[in-house]
Amino acid sequence: MDFLREIQELRQFFRSGRTRSVAWRKKQVKALLQLIHDNEQAIFEALRQDLGKHPVEAYRDEIGVVEKSANNSLNHVEKWMAPRKSHVPFLFFPAKGEVISEPLGVVLIFSSWNFPISLALDPLIGAISAGNAVVLKPSEQAPACSSLLAKTIPHYLDPDAIKVIEGGADVSEQLLLQRWDKIFFTGSSRVASIVMTAAAKTLTPVTLELGGKCPAILDSLSSPSELKTAVKRIVGGKWGPCSGQACIAVDYVLVEEKFAPVLIELLKKFIRRFYGDNPKESKVTARIVNKQHFQRLCNLLKDPLVVNSIVHGGSVDEEELFIEPTILLDPPLDAQIMTEEIFGPFLPVITVNQIQESIEFINSRPKPLTLYAFTKDETFKRKIVSETSSGSVSFNDTLVHFLCETLPFGGVGQSGFGRYHGKYSFDTFSHEKAILHRKLFLEIEPRYPPWNQLKMQFLRLAYRLNYFGILLFLMGFRRRN
């Protein structure tokens, strides 16, 4: 099991040039749309099996995302593929410059278990649109989805160019021993470091889409309806995506001490409204993916100080892998629940004296993937943008920036590097090749040795783009060397 043969086949197919035509790329993306369309029920079922996702959530976060991305690519890929002219300074006349996007070659995509369909297929769309051959390695922690992808993709997409390889850590390790033209990884920082270390051996460029503790700053909002909307969006942004098991889920909330009670009341209200009085029965929220993560999350609550800070929820069911939406008020900042990405249905509410302190709070921690802030204060907004650093910032809403195709989606610092979505997906799997065209007449003699003062003078003028000076110089420069 060393996959060498598969990769060689892919490389050969790529070399044949068949992945480069617009027609081929569009055909693959259309086929992907057909795959989704034909297998929608099967996808819903697989997501229900792996994560207990409700079909609406499954559509919203997975199928819909892929459809949107595919359509966007079909509409724009030709434009993205077109060479872009670069202005070349007159000094180089006659010359023409351009930048061509070319596929990198054979790329490897690792996807994660929490959005096992969209985080596999969205990057895949980018890789195909850019003209690459692809190996997709879905997460084994979402086995029904992994198996569904492995089964359906060969029937819809060109099997000579796109392969799905299933398996666990041992398979990933084997894949990482090979040379790739790009590795696209979505997952945890710990594994990302392993991936990048392996990539370094072959100088393979990587994009790492990681996570972090995405904070939500809640400023004072005078209008009750706006406050309600803000809290509603926070609730939707926490327990909506895979029960908090999402890289862009709200990890914790920062609020001024005096508003904490109101916030908590509203949080409880919306939790009840969305998930009913018995969230376990309503089956609206996803379950915890597996025993290992369930244990990890339960361990976060082992600390007595943390348990004492629970103001809502806290109940768990190991058999159903269910943890109810839980709110904590000011758990100790050095507890694991506040030093690690939670990736689950616990929402710590952290109070500060003045909301401005949130900036320092966030800056003293690793850079998150997304920062959320609910405020109407324009000065505060500007301050947040200029004084904090995160992959992205979203004001007055949660999660939706993920759907904005014109915005680059990616992390910074510990939350990763590289980006995708829309044209950024295309770019991430492309090499921007510069081409300079020159002509074989009109020589600038001073370019060549033997050197002398006259040539030096000319080149100094040339470098300053001092065309007038050059002209004068040339007029007096009679003898060629």
Binding site: P89, G97, V99, A200, T229, N396, P449
Partner: protein, 485 residues
């Protein structure tokens, strides 16, 4: 041992303290203002202007680089880089507004460039001024604090850079660390926000492995065997001069984008060799070892490496021009070889010296296979008047950058991204690409409190599902249909 003076060693502790100090300065916000960046870029310009002679002397000491090359290829290009940055910086720093779709309506969005933080620039010995300061220009323009580690293989320049940057730049944000492998290792153990490395693939791998521990993004400007394909029916004189300028005119072939080897047809090769010989003599005279217009080989290590390439059994008989060497002066004359075997050493590693093998093929189209059978080079060159060949070249050759009918010039065009692909590197720079290389483009979405689609929230229903499909798909008709059944 007792009684010994403690050495001023730059070890892991010193590196850690340096990184901490610079991070503190960066977090104070000092490097972010437009004024600070401009002041530093201007200081760099002044540094180069005030000390041109010293720079030329240092380059002569390290590489016997002809003053003209120093002024044109190092100083001139660097000054240009500063000027372009100064001219464009305001524009580069501005957030870019982007369109939003109905899916997030009502909303507005922009992409805000922000500095990554503290950057580490590790530079090379062959263009020790340019390859040190050009990335520093990018780091500063993007608002970062920066540590520069010049190459110890060009010691006079390294020491000059340490002196001058210490004198002209804001020391709380811009620092130089001199040294060799130990110092570099100590630096690489620290967490940086970006590492920019120029050099060879072997160290490139080490740098990226170290970066992986901290998930630090890297730019690796490496090398490779940059081929020059020469067609017939061209102005052979001009083509030869440009090949010579790109090869021996660039640090005597010790440049990452020098044409490494030539591919031409069997029929045309004699003409090409003749033209090259004629022009080489015009440029460097009959005694090139004595010419003042050629750089020397940087050190005896590389001298030994290059002579080994020349002296290999199956290669030494293929010399058709040059081959002279003077170990005492570390000089190797411009050397052309014809039809060396493909499995010779000289055809299997980057030459980085004044040796130019010419490989011949029957039909010029075969040259593409030759190039594609190797790793992707940093640059590839084609001399031809044939439009179809140009198109095939542009499409079929993957390299960092391509030039048609010239060599190396693309390095000087700041509107073109300069960087490698595959084994020739990761990332790009020059002009705005330098700014981008040290920047995080932060996506910012502004939403209002209105326009909250109940569709987003539970309890879920079939109707909500339909509406959601329409919203995400962004189709107004779909939305209307879903709303009104």
């Amino acid at each position: 041992m007792a009684g010994e003076e403690p050495k001023n060693v730059f070890d892991a502790e010193a590196a850690s303290s340096l990184a901490r100090e610079l991070r503190g300065t960066f977090l104070s916000g000092k490097t972010r203002s437009y004024e600070w960046r401009v002041s530093q870029l201007k200081a760099l310009l002044k540094l180069v202007d005030d000390n041109e002679q010293e720079i030329v002397d240092a380059l002569r000491s390290d590489l016997s680089k002809p003053p003209m090359e120093s002024v044109v290829c190092e100083i001139g290009l660097l000054k240009n880089s500063c000027k372009v940055s100064l001219r464009e910086l305001k524009h580069w720093m501005k957030p870019e507004k982007v369109k939003t779709s109905i899916t997030t309506f009502p909303s507005s969005a922009e992409i805000v460039p922000e500095p990554l933080g503290v950057a580490l620039v590790i530079s090379a010995w062959n263009y020790p001024i340019l390859l040190s300061l050009d990335p520093v220009v990018g780091a500063i323009a993007a608002g970062n604090a920066v540590v520069l580690k010049p190459s110890e293989i060009s010691p006079a320049t390294s020491s000059l850079l340490a002196k001058l940057l210490g004198k002209y730049m804001d020391n709380s944000c811009v620092r130089v660390v001199e040294g060799a492998a130990d110092e570099t290792t100590a630096l690489l153990q620290q967490k940086w926000d970006k590492i920019f490395y120029t050099g060879n693939a072997r160290i490139g791998r080490t740098v990226m492995t170290a970066a992986a521990k901290h998930l630090t993004p890297v730019v690796l400007e490496l090398g490779g065997k940059s081929p020059a394909v020469v067609d017939s029916n061209i102005n052979i004189k001009v083509a030869s001069r440009r090949i010579i300028a790109g090869k021996w005119g660039c640090n005597n072939g010790q440049a990452c984008i020098s044409p490494d080897y030539i591919i031409t047809t069997k029929d045309y090769a004699p003409k090409l060799v003749d033209a090259l010989k004629t022009e080489l003599e015009t440029f460097y005279g009959k005694n090139p070892l004595e010419s003042k217009d050629l750089s020397r080989i940087v050190n005896s290590n590389h001298f030994g490496r290059l002579t080994k390439l020349l002296d290999e059994d199956k290669v030494s008989g293929k010399i058709v021009y040059g081959g002279e060497r003077d170990e005492s002066k570390l000089m190797i004359a411009p050397t052309i070889l014809l039809d060396v075997p493909r499995n010779s050493l000289i055809m299997n590693e980057e030459i980085f010296g004044p040796l130019l093998p010419i490989i011949t093929v029957d039909k010029l189209e075969e040259s593409f296979d030759v190039i594609n059978s190797g790793t992707k080079p940093l640059a590839a060159y084609l001399f031809t008047n044939n439009k179809k060949l140009k198109e095939q070249f542009a499409k079929g050759i993957s390299a960092g950058g391509l030039v048609v009918n010239d060599t190396t010039l693309h390095l000087a065009v700041h509107t073109l991204p300069f960087g490698g692909v595959g084994e020739s590197g990761i990332g790009a720079y020059h002009g705005k690409f330098s700014f981008d290389a040290f920047t995080h483009k932060k996506a910012v979405l502004y939403r209002s409190f209105h326009g909250d689609a109940a569709v987003r929230y539970p309890p879920y229903s079939y109707m909500k599902l339909r509406l959601m499909k329409a919203l995400i798909g962004g189709s107004i008709n779909g939305i209307i249909r879903a709303l009104f059944g």
